[in-house]
């Protein structure tokens, strides 16, 4: 099987089954893993552990703590993330929602002194096992950041960067670039200036470019860390439309400060809050996790209600 074809056509489910058919299939499905082509950098079949998750569950987080050095930034978060849905993480500043988001693709590894305890299972595979390669994780769990951060390259090269690393052939790149830009609703605006600098785009266009770049490597999950906070309402609206379209293909987890945005676009909402201990250290925790419609109409916890009605935060 041609690796490029694998990258372009494979359904997330097919790949997921490679890593979650545990434990009876661990040794025998090495060929199947190899057939995933560009994703075969590590032998994922060897790291399978735990139970196959409930159908349609991408992430299972259990008792996740995140420390920065000695300081605990996030305490005891447990939640499951469903496939092909939009999960919103909301809460006041400093509540650890961005920190939590970065647990899903091991982005916290990049922060000196950051440590994650507890389990973050991705299709039943604990992402924090020693055998898991964070590079492989990030290839499947892409990320869009708060400030648009295109590479100082052309529009084309921005999109092609990830696929090139993944080994997509030069001849297939044009299609990948066009497909990604089209899905990010940017193709019509940039198709005549693909070779021009990405920095020449407006802020909203740059953020859609970053989304296109994230989906160009065919991830299963796209993490978004306040993707609209630097954008005006019109650009924000376009990104929100885009998210609604993307969720048919991808699982999306989004951090947002904008509660209307969470209410508009998400299926599930997790509300985080922050508590200061007697030392003055502020540790975030998950207060409530429920379907968005419930959170915004009939929250269980009085703290959630206070926050979403604007009485605090």
């Amino acid at each position: 099987m041609n690796p490029e074809k694998a990258l372009m056509t494979q359904e997330p489910d097919a790949r997921a089954s490679d890593v979650s058919d545990a434990p009876d299939a661990t040794a025998s499905d090495v060929p199947a893993t190899a057939a995933t082509g560009v994703h075969a950098r590590i032998d994922v079949s060897g790291v399978v552990s735990g139970q196959r998750p409930e159908a349609g569950t991408v992430f299972e987080c259990a008792e996740v703590d995140v420390y920065y050095g000695d300081f605990r930034a996030l305490r005891d978060v447990s939640l499951d993330v469903a496939e092909h849905g939009v999960t919103a993480l909301i809460g006041p500043s400093g509540c650890g929602k961005s920190t939590f988001l970065r647990c899903f693709n091991r982005m916290n590894d990049l922060i000196e002194g950051a440590r994650v305890e507890g389990t973050v299972n991705y299709y039943g595979v604990d992402l924090y096992q020693d055998e898991v390669d964070p590079v492989e994780v990030r290839r499947r769990v892409g990320m869009v950041f708060q400030k648009p951060n295109p590479f100082p390259k052309s529009i084309y090269d921005n999109i092609a960067y990830g696929p090139r690393l993944a080994g997509v052939k030069r001849s297939a790149l044009d299609d990948v670039v066009e497909g990604s830009l089209t899905r990010a609703a940017l193709w019509d605006e940039v198709k005549d200036r693909l070779k021009m600098s990405a920095y020449g785009l407006s802020g909203g266009q740059q953020q859609r470019l970053c989304i296109a770049r994230a989906i160009a490597v065919q991830p299963d999950v796209v993490l978004m860390d306040e993707p609209c906070s630097a954008l005006d309402p019109i650009a924000t609206g376009r990104i929100e439309e885009l998210i609604a379209e993307l969720k048919t293909e991808y699982t999306i987890i989004i951090v947002t400060h904008n509660m209307q945005q969470a209410a508009r676009i998400s299926d599930m909402t997790a509300f985080f809050s922050v508590q200061a201990n007697e030392m003055g250290h502020r540790t975030g925790e998950l207060v409530e996790y429920a379907p968005t419609s419930l959170i915004f109409t009939n929250p269980d916890d009085p703290r959630t209600e206070a926050y979403i009605t604007g009485r605090v935060g």
Partner: protein, 310 residues
């Protein structure tokens, strides 16, 4: 007399009028700054003017001969700086070959791998201190290590020994500027690359280094320009101050033969008795200034060339 009570009353009185002497400190400070700038540039201009005037006899009438002929013991009029120019460029080349890869690699390790570890901080602090060590100390180091200890490699007091000595001298400068350049690469760029599944090597080689390249290049060339102007350490590691002949030596052999450098020649001209040797010293100073200026110009050109247009 009426009392001003409303904002309109106050505004239409003299409240908004510019008062003389309101910002004396600011004005004094500005003129102090201008004075310092004038002094600094004026000092350089005078230096340059004095050298050009002193060396005018050679620069106006005899320049080509001066540039293309070697040293002569017989008379100042016959002596030239050709060997010094070649020697200086050769030494600078060797300096670059040794100092640039080691310096840049050290900087990459300190910033990207050792990160904020105690070890990295101690190393960086020491390197910053090394940048302040007098050049003559590096000359002593060069004599002990490069000329004597590794005599087999350098063949004694040669261009290679001289270049390695100056490499040791400019290494801290290259490390420091490269460290600053790498630290200046925004973390969002790294995160973006990691976010699409790049390995550390891919992030470094394709994003971080290209982004830092123009600054690293500029720092490197400026460090080499400084090496070009050094005389003291070179005298210790064998740059000849008298007559020397390349004979029939080819280019490669001159690297392991006796050599001289422009600053050393200036030193030599200046200590010989007679006014005409002094003219040569001044003229050679102008030559080295032009050379350093050319190297700095190259640095600016490279920076503009490699700087990201976006």
């Amino acid at each position: 007399m009426s009392v001003l009570t409303t904002p309109a009353d106050i505004a239409t009185s003299h409240a908004l009028r510019r008062r003389p002497g309101a910002d004396v400190a600011g004005a004094v400070f500005k003129w102090l700054l201008i004075g310092a700038t004038v002094f600094a540039t004026g000092f350089l201009a005078v230096l340059l003017a004095v050298m050009i005037v002193d060396g005018w006899d050679v620069l106006s009438g005899n320049l080509w001969h001066f540039l293309t002929h070697g040293f002569s013991q017989r008379s100042a009029a016959e002596a030239g700086v050709w060997q010094g120019i070649i020697g200086s460029l050769q030494v600078a080349l060797v300096t670059g070959v040794f100092a640039v890869p080691i310096g840049v690699a050290t900087a990459i390790y300190l910033v990207e791998y050792a990160q904020d570890s105690r070890f990295a901080r101690i190393v960086e602090l020491n390197i910053r201190n090394l940048a302040g060590v007098p050049s003559i100390v590096y000359g002593l180091l060069g004599l002990a290590v490069f000329v004597q200890t590794i005599h087999g490699f350098t063949q004694g007091k040669t261009v290679i020994a001289g270049g390695m000595t100056l490499a040791a001298m400019v290494l801290p400068i290259i490390v420091i500027t490269s460290v600053e350049a790498l630290k200046a690469v925004p973390s969002s760029l790294r995160e973006a690359a990691y976010g699409v599944g790049a390995t550390k090597w891919e992030v470094l080689s394709r994003q971080v280094l290209p982004a830092a390249l123009s600054t690293i290049l500029t720092g490197t060339v400026l460090a080499l320009a400084r090496a070009l102007g050094e005389a003291a350490p070179l005298i210790l590691v064998g740059a000849a101050t008298g007559f020397l002949s390349f004979g029939d030596a080819n280019m490669l052999e001159t690297f392991t033969g006796p050599y001289t450098a422009l600053p050393v020649q200036i030193f030599n001209f200046a200590r010989l008795p007679g006014a005409d040797w002094g003219v040569n010293a001044a003229a050679a100073s102008v030559v080295i200034l032009v050379l350093v200026l050319a190297v700095n110009g190259l640095a600016i050109y490279l920076r503009n060339r490699f700087e990201k247009q976006w």
